[in-house]
Amino acid sequence: MNDKQLQKDILAELDWEPFVNPAHIGVSVDHGVVTLTGHVTSFAEKHAAAEAVRRVRGVRALVQDMHVQLTDPLWPDDADIATAAVARLSWRTGIPAEAIKVSVENGGVMLTGQVENHGQREIAAAEVRDIPGVRMVVNALTLRPAVVSPADVQQRIEAALRRNALIDAGQVAVMVADGVVTLTGTVHSLYEREAAAWAAWSAPGTREVLNELAVAGD
């Protein structure tokens, strides 16, 4: 697929995506690497735009250069955002809200503290993303350390990759050293690439994932 067609498809997908208004978004494509520029009106919209681009066939990587331009001059102040963030985190199931600290500065939300696994870390960030007035989320949550042998970690990740219905596990190589997991190989889409990283995080003992998987070009 050529870059021009891909650009067209991306613009069509951004227009199609219910939670994005593409009016002020710029899309440039270079050999399947997409750069988004311009602005949107909320951090949630910025996230939705990135997800939309990642779905499009032919996209190999995404560079995010959009900024959030809040439209409402009476946007919630930092204290309101912090209150909403703390409330959202404590009201829902699946995360140890009491272990998470929220700080807000100029619409930028930072999460600190320690949670049990990467999934909880992601859930916490997703929970505060939607709050009106949020421009950015910095997820500085750390993981509770687990003492597991590298061979164990590797085995569990390979098992997680194999059992995932969407991932072609034979194309993904896993290397583990000191809690750092490196994934290499080629996958068919960004979705598969992210699903593989998610599987890598599933092993207790994973401290970091270096995702060097390439997305196949045409």
């Binding site: 498809d9 069509a12 997908e13 199609w16 995506e17 219910p18 939670f19 949630a44 779905r55 499009v56 066939r57 032919g58 996209v59 909403a84 409330a87 959202r88 009201w91 829902r92 199931t93 699946g94 995360i95 049990e116 696994n117 990467h118 999934g119 909880q120 992601e122 859930i123 939607d130 709050i131 009106p132 098992a159 997680a160 194999r162 059992r163 995932n164 219905a165 969407l166 068919h188 889409s189 960004l190 979705y191 598969e192 699903a195 599933s202």
Partner: protein, 217 residues
């Protein structure tokens, strides 16, 4: 090891990892491609997460969900408190839709009522409230009433399928009966099944998406 045993162990492993749920009281049985989940969890969100987790596993064709939701004994959340939280969440997450949605909570069952303009609004409202503590079930009675033109709905959804890196559009079909869209075809995974459904959300004027796509692992 038999295929059934392998599938059972794989589903249990996937449930154990899932950060959205505590799987310690969930039982898994596998027969052919059919997985049955039993036991109990402490929230509606976990019950749904269990099905989603099982569906991610290679080889799973259908999931029978017999999990019971048992709220924790030291239940700290009263119905009116949950309802108020749900209202707040909607105001934060979907401010345009929130005023049109009426929320009631009775014995932990959260009901959504009202009329919204888009099919995706109906789904988003539910998604935003379903993870609150203390919910046993969500009954979504939101009605979609759209004024948008239905021109070319079929072609537009097919184009969305073709653009999508994760779908084999040739194996999918779309029929539109007025504002009700039905998706059919065959996919190899539940992930693709759900991606196709999500891809139909962008269609203007659609009030319902019937996902009859078959998953054949």
């Amino acid at each position: 090891m038999s295929d059934d045993k392998t599938l059972q162990l794989d589903v249990m492993a996937e449930l154990a990892w899932d950060p959205h749920l505590d799987a310690s009281h969930i039982g898994v049985a596998a027969e052919g491609a059919v997985v049955t989940l039993t036991g109990h969890v402490t929230s509606w969100a976990e019950k749904r997460a269990a099905v989603a987790a099982a569906r991610r596993v290679r080889g799973v064709g259908a999931v029978a969900n017999e999990i019971e939701v048992r709220l924790p004994a030291d239940r700290k959340w009263h119905d009116d408190e949950i309802a108020k939280r749900a209202v707040d969440i909607l105001h934060w997450s979907c401010p345009q839709v929130a005023p049109r949605v009426k929320i009631t909570v009775t014995a932990g069952v959260l009901t959504l009522e009202g009329t919204v303009e888009h099919f995706f609004d109906r789904m988003e409202a539910e998604r935003n409230v379903h993870r609150l503590h203390g919910i046993v079930r969500v009954d979504n009675h939101l009605i979609v009433s759209s004024q948008a033109s239905l021109a070319d709905v079929h072609d537009k959804i097919e184009a969305a399928f073709r653009r999508n890196a994760n779908l084999a559009a040739d194996h999918l079909s779309v029929t539109a009966d007025g504002p009700v869209v039905t998706l059919r075809g065959r996919v190899r995974s539940w992930q693709e099944h759900d991606i196709a459904e999500r891809a139909a959300w962008g269609a203007p004027g659609v009030t319902e998406v019937n996902n009859l796509i078959q998953v054949e692992p």
